[in-house]
Symmetry: C2
Subunit: 495 residues, 2 copies
């Protein structure tokens, strides 16, 4: 009877509405999963007048968002951008996000996201999320302070820097350190005030579908008991991605399966994607994800030289960490060393094995086992150009160019099988921008919506991704799903 | 009414059997598309006693096979291998084919293919395809003579050469030059003798499904008229891949969309994949394909040095041409130059633009616009090692290692936007080894089979592919589909 907790990559079959003898309750909109997408969906549904229920499997909402640093990708001239002296525009933001969303992105989602960025910023303020009007200039994964703006992606890195005027668009709420949980707390408050009913510790693994094919509710498991709850206007799946479901990762995303550290909450097990597939929803972009190894901070590491097992560079080291890591996987076959000198070496969050520490590059090359003469050439050439403030080979920005001349020299092993690579998925249910789930035919699955990592959203590729696009895209398209579901024609209940 | 000839990536909806007033004829098995997979399926179905029909859209069978050189991948100790002194075994073949099928391959298909390779060789002989017991030693795309055996993949190239004992497994039938059309002619003869009915110039774009969900026939368009033809045991889709369907390629396979030259027949427009999807078949591996630019022969070009826009090598040049090309796309961002000296330069099939011809490498580097000093180092280092018969950086085999020292030096532009890259798709319907089409649930679609490029078959990735795996895998799993369909429980016709 129960749809099994054992990980599986197979779709979860729905239950027939006609077979439900008792509905425990009826709502307009049911949101499954209270991460940032679910919270945003519920808030907008409630604001539009829908009687709204959120079902969350944990003891309190949060999802992957609450575990994150809470950066949100906004642009086009936010208050924080203006106050910090950055003159961003819709067109400039669009030029970058088009690239950052990846080659398989949905142009409609990209356009809407950029067009409505200021409104989306206002949405977060409207639910009490505060942002300081400050810029944190150092290249970090997120500001350790309560500062707001950072360059959170590839904006300043070649070739992106040449394609659009670089603007910082990562906005972290006013909170020292991580702010993800803070965002969710504001959402829980806002949703509660709007009358959204929130039930925690509820598992949803089965949708309920009527004989016309419309999704009209969910089977909720509460303290071991199954109850059927009806949603007359729509069910919104905001259950996260599938990185915690080993069977799905191995089946769909072999590259991600090589990474040691899944990023997500326990709920990121693909349950929503599998439920959506079970009623005909198409799962797309399933082989893609973000892979990253946090070799900086310290930012001095960005001044290091990343080389392959051939002793060659293959990417500008000042790209977003996810893009650098993607290059290690795709261009260097998963094996790479960060070469630093004594002045650049520092302690990263991830502890990297030292493949060698030597007084000369020649010795280091030998110790690491790189082919003779290659690292020597790479560093000599890099140093020569760095002295002139140039990197004609991979176009690292001038501010990160320093000759490596202070022994000892070290090689940090960033290889996928030797260090911690973190990863999350970027594939999920195919949706319209409104969150309506699509079949492989391009038809809408009536009554079903998805947003956040349960859907294939704004960004589709770790090679181009920027921090803030998951929370940004998840919440923006969550909001659209909430609005759309709230206004949907209600299902007619069988007599 | 008609399912449109306009290219679309959407599934083709089936027709209801109950709505068919007249069946023009009834067969046990209908095979759609007479390429090598369709021919093999029909022959085995007929041998198993099934009344079999092949519907082919062209004026004569052939498909992509007839346009190809006709190499078939066999191993494990064929007569040709033994006669040529190669001591192959099942285990050794399996070790290589496991790698060559790619990381997302179906291990069951890989195992069966290797286990039954000698039987499959015998199948071709049984239908009159002749093979000479000779080996063509030069590394070519296919022997220009009527010789049989070649190294048709990555067997001799690092790292494959270190993982399994290199054996030639490309078997070309005894025909000077291309042999693909010859294979098909033997199949047409054999099928005809077995009583298979062959109808050419028939379009099939719609399946017919009964109310229990079983596929029971096809709508065939013959001279503009639609007729319904019944298949009581099974319909086998052997319609080829989708490289000729621009909408599908752009939707599913953005990398392949960058290549100028689609490899296939007019029929490779995804019609079978779309029909299969329309009855719930899952399409998998859709973003993958083979990309290749034929920079050799002349084999002297393999002795050239392939560099990226950074002037760096990134792959051993003696890999299979498809693997080299995949590396240009994935590791060098689609841009690469083959550096040759006067003794190595020759005329390739593809005419490459010369990005530069100069008396020295220094000048060539400047003319091509490579970053100063990089090509100079690459060639100097390559030459130094080549003199010692070594390539410690990318492990090119000794026989292709020659220092580039004879001016003038030339750079052939192999970039995807500057030269001819040929491509075909490697995604399609998900099938069991028996050819039974699977839903995204892993359930069999009753009455429906697929083989050849209409299915996701033996090989799933251009990075590992070898010539002969398409005709080999297509025909082998076509045979299994034919046998399985012929023995299937017949559908019960509604009164």
């Amino acid at each position: 009877m129960s749809q099994a907790s054992a990980p599986s990559f197979l779709p979860s079959r729905p239950r027939r509405a006609a077979a439900i003898s008792t509905w425990s309750d009826t709502f307009d909109v049911i949101v499954v999963g209270f991460g940032v997408a679910g919270g945003a969906a519920a808030i907008e549904a409630a604001r539009a007048g829908a009687r709204t229920l959120i079902l969350e499997r944990q003891t309190r909402g949060g999802g992957a968002t609450a575990l994150s640093e809470g950066t949100i990708y906004f642009g086009g001239g936010t208050r924080a951008q203006k106050a910090s002296g950055f003159d961003d525009s819709f067109e400039n933001m669009l030029a970058h996000v088009r690239a950052a969303a990846g080659p398989t992105a949905d142009p409609e989602k990209v356009r809407l996201y950029c067009e409505n960025s200021l409104d989306h910023f206002a949405f977060f303020e409207s639910i009490g999320v505060e942002f300081k009007d400050t810029f944190f200039a150092e290249k970090v994964i997120f500001p350790p302070t309560d500062d707001c703006l950072i360059f959170s992606g590839n904006e300043e890195a070649w070739p992106f820097s040449a394609e659009a005027k670089p603007m910082p668009r990562g906005h972290k709420p006013k909170k020292t350190g991580s702010a993800g949980a803070y965002i969710i707390e504001q959402m829980i408050d806002a949703a509660t005030k709007l009358g959204v009913e929130i039930q925690n510790e509820v598992r949803v693994e089965t949708l309920i579908r009527d004989d016309e094919g419309r999704v009209v509710g969910v089977v909720a498991k509460i303290e071991g008991q199954e109850v059927a709850i009806r949603a007359n206007r729509g069910v919104i799946l905001t259950t996260g991605g599938f990185i915690m479901n080993r069977a799905m990762v191995e089946h769909y995303a072999p590259d991600l399966a090589k990474c040691r550290y899944p990023i997500g909450s326990e709920g990121c097990d693909g349950s929503g994607i599998r439920m959506g597939m079970g009623v005909g929803g198409a799962a797309v972009n399933m082989h893609e994800g973000l892979m990253t190894t946090a070799f900086f901070p310290p930012t001095s590491h960005i001044k290091g030289v990343l080389v392959s097992a051939q002793g060659q560079r293959f990417i500008n080291e000042d790209c977003y960490h996810g893009r650098v890591t993607d290059a290690i996987m795709q261009k260097a076959d998963g094996r790479a060393y960060l070469i630093v000198d004594d002045t650049l070496y520092g302690q990263a969050i991830v502890r990297y094995e030292l493949a060698g520490v030597e007084e000369t590059i020649e010795e280091l090359e030998k110790t690491v086992g790189l082919p003779e003469g290659q690292l020597v050439h790479t560093i000599a050439s890099y140093n020569k150009y760095a002295e002139q403030g140039e990197d004609p080979v991979f176009h690292k920005a001038k501010k990160y160019l320093t000759p490596l001349v202070h022994p000892p020299f070290a090689a940090l092993d960033l290889s996928v099988d030797k260090s911690i690579w973190a990863t999350f998925t970027l594939g999920g249910l195919d949706t319209k921008a409104t969150g309506e789930v699509l079949t492989v035919d391009g038809q809408v699955v009536p009554g079903l919506y998805a947003a956040g990592r349960a859907s294939a959203g704004l960004t589709r590729s770790g090679r181009y991704y920027a921090s803030g696009m998951s929370i940004g895209g998840g919440s923006y398209f969550g909001r659209l799903a909430g609005k759309t579901a709230a206004k949907a024609e209600p299902a007619v209940e069988a007599a």
